[in-house]
Amino acid sequence: MDTLTINNAEIKVNEEGYFTDPSQWSEDIAIEMAKKENIDLTDKHFEVLNFLRSKHAEEVPLSIRKVGKSGVVNIKEFYALFPGGPLKISSKIAGIPKPVSCV
């Protein structure tokens, strides 16, 4: 277990940099996390992050397809907002664990 210091807060993260305690998240911390990925967060980004956080809280497993069906963004827009690995990157910024497949 590691810690990250962002805006003077000590954030607990795992080896890959994902939050281990989603309640430590705040919008300001997200903005700083996003900078490390070279992303400037817009309202649209936050809509996605909030969607991911609410699904995580409901214990719904996440997938790219699910985000694409969320009504928040379609898959193309999701890739445009978080280039590279959209689900992995957005989950990191949203302060939730890395999404996993179960089978």
Partner: protein, 430 residues
């Protein structure tokens, strides 16, 4: 008389019919099973058809020959379940009421979910092998194919028999080697996962095998469309992979009937939200779901349907007797992985324990090596066909425990005293 309806007479539906027939009170309950047609395919055999290892006739029987005498079988398509009124509406317009419903409508590939996949090249240079038609047409194609770029692509991460695409890659390597044209075939395995498989220890073993067999893995590739004109697949982030022959595992979806009944999951894949331990529908207590039709976080496989069946029969009997549901499914899955040249590997896992190396006890044939390539595992894979027709479908118990056992497995050190409720799963969707 109370009415029990089973929707779908594939692996799980047929098996449940046989189990129920032996155990329920027939003075009180009347069972009916529904499917579109009377053809039962042994789907695991589809893997072997493209390479001429099985002939089409090896995998086809009628559904009826596996039903107990006197079964009410309706050949029709289910359009919709109206759970509020406890009735099922069929395509013919017929309505059937029920007191207890078992949904076993499985999953099927839906190529139209990916733009261009079932376009002009479909069944010319693009094939699936998850259907009887796809597998038999691909066999014809491979017979005369002179080589080039063979691309195996998974459109989505949730597919039935998640090891089958890997097995296809291994068998393709063996097939072209034996034909003497392996040097003319470039095999690429293009997947939306971050590696060859989902769970870490198995992925390590399987990635190594891929490398040894000179199969190139392209990870993190989420297909957006197929460019038929230039023969390439294109991902959402603009990566391109050229192909001469594309073997696709299209998006797997549950029956349209699920969507019509407003029972789909949030992925819109038409898998039904199901209690992962009791197999009861999450919203309706008189509906149970089994097999590939569920949204359970385990593999969609015939072996899983079997283990679920052992649990479900107990819970249905409890339900009929107004008792609390007593049996608990642990997500147990057991899959042979055919690796080519007469060998196979075996994995055995559940919701909380990933596939581990070691030995798996099976009477007579076994013990079998876990996560290693052996000839005995290959015998096991071939024997599964006999087991499927003669034991699994007829609802007999198999000499394998229903809940996963740690006996013979070698757990990595740090796992030993870790308490785990949640699946410790690992891999990674983009």
């Amino acid at each position: 008389m109370k009415k029990l309806l089973i929707l779908g007479a594939g692996t799980a539906g047929t098996m449940m019919l046989n189990k129920l027939d032996k155990r329920i009170d027939k003075e009180e309950w009347d069972i009916t099973i529904i499917d579109k047609d009377n053809t039962h395919y042994y789907q695991p055999g589809f893997l072997f058809i493209p390479f001429g290892i099985y002939q089409p006739s090896d995998v086809v029987k009628t559904r009826k020959e596996f039903f107990p005498k006197g079964t009410n079988f309706i050949m029709d398509e289910v359009e919709e379940i109206n759970a509020a009124d406890k009735e099922v509406i069929l395509k013919s317009g017929k309505e059937l009421s029920y007191d207890l419903l078992v949904i076993a409508t499985g999953t099927k590939p839906v190529p139209s979910e990916t733009e261009g996949l079932d376009g002009p090249l479909w069944y010319k240079d693009i094939f699936d092998f998850y259907t009887f038609e796809g597998a038999t047409l691909l066999a014809k194609k491979l017979r005369d194919w002179k080589g080039g770029k063979l691309v195996i692509n998974l459109a989505e991460t949730i597919i039935k028999c998640p090891v089958a695409p890997l097995e296809f890659a291994f068998l393709a390597d063996a097939y072209f080697t034996e034909k003497g044209i392996r040097d003319k075939v470039d095999i690429q395995y293009v997947t939306p996962l971050s590696g060859a498989f989902t769970k870490p220890i198995a992925t390590k073993m399987l990635s190594q095998l891929m490398e040894e067999k000179n199969i190139h893995v392209v990870p993190d590739f989420y297909i957006e469309h197929v460019d038929n004109e230039n023969k390439k697949i294109v991902s959402y982030d603009g990566l391109e992979v050229d192909f001469d022959l594309l073997v696709s595992i299209p998006t797997n979806m549950g029956s349209e009937m699920v969507e019509n009944s407003n029972m789909s999951d949030e992925d819109d894949l038409n898998f039904i939200p199901t209690n992962k331990h009791t197999l009861q529908h999450k919203e309706h207590e008189n509906i149970f779901v089994i097999g590939d039709a569920t949204n359970l976080p385990t593999s969609k496989a015939g072996s899983v349907a079997h283990f679920e069946g052992e649990i479900l029969i107990e819970n249905i009997l409890d339900f009929m007797n107004n008792k609390p549901l007593s049996a608990n499914f642990d997500g147990h899955a057991n899959c042979f992985i055919e690796t080519g040249f007469g060998k196979a590997a075996l994995i055995d896992f559940n919701y909380t324990t990933e596939p581990l190396p070691g030995q798996f006890p099976i009477p007579i044939l076994g013990p079998m090596g876990l996560l290693k390539e052996t000839r005995i595992n290959h015998m096991g894979k071939l024997a599964f066909k006999w087991v499927y027709w003669h034991m699994l479908l007829t609802g007999k118990s198999l000499p394998v425990s229903t809940n996963m056992s740690m006996s013979g497995k070698k757990a990595p050190k740090k796992e030993e005293n870790k308490e785990k409720e949640e699946p410790q799963q690992e891999e990674v969707l983009l």
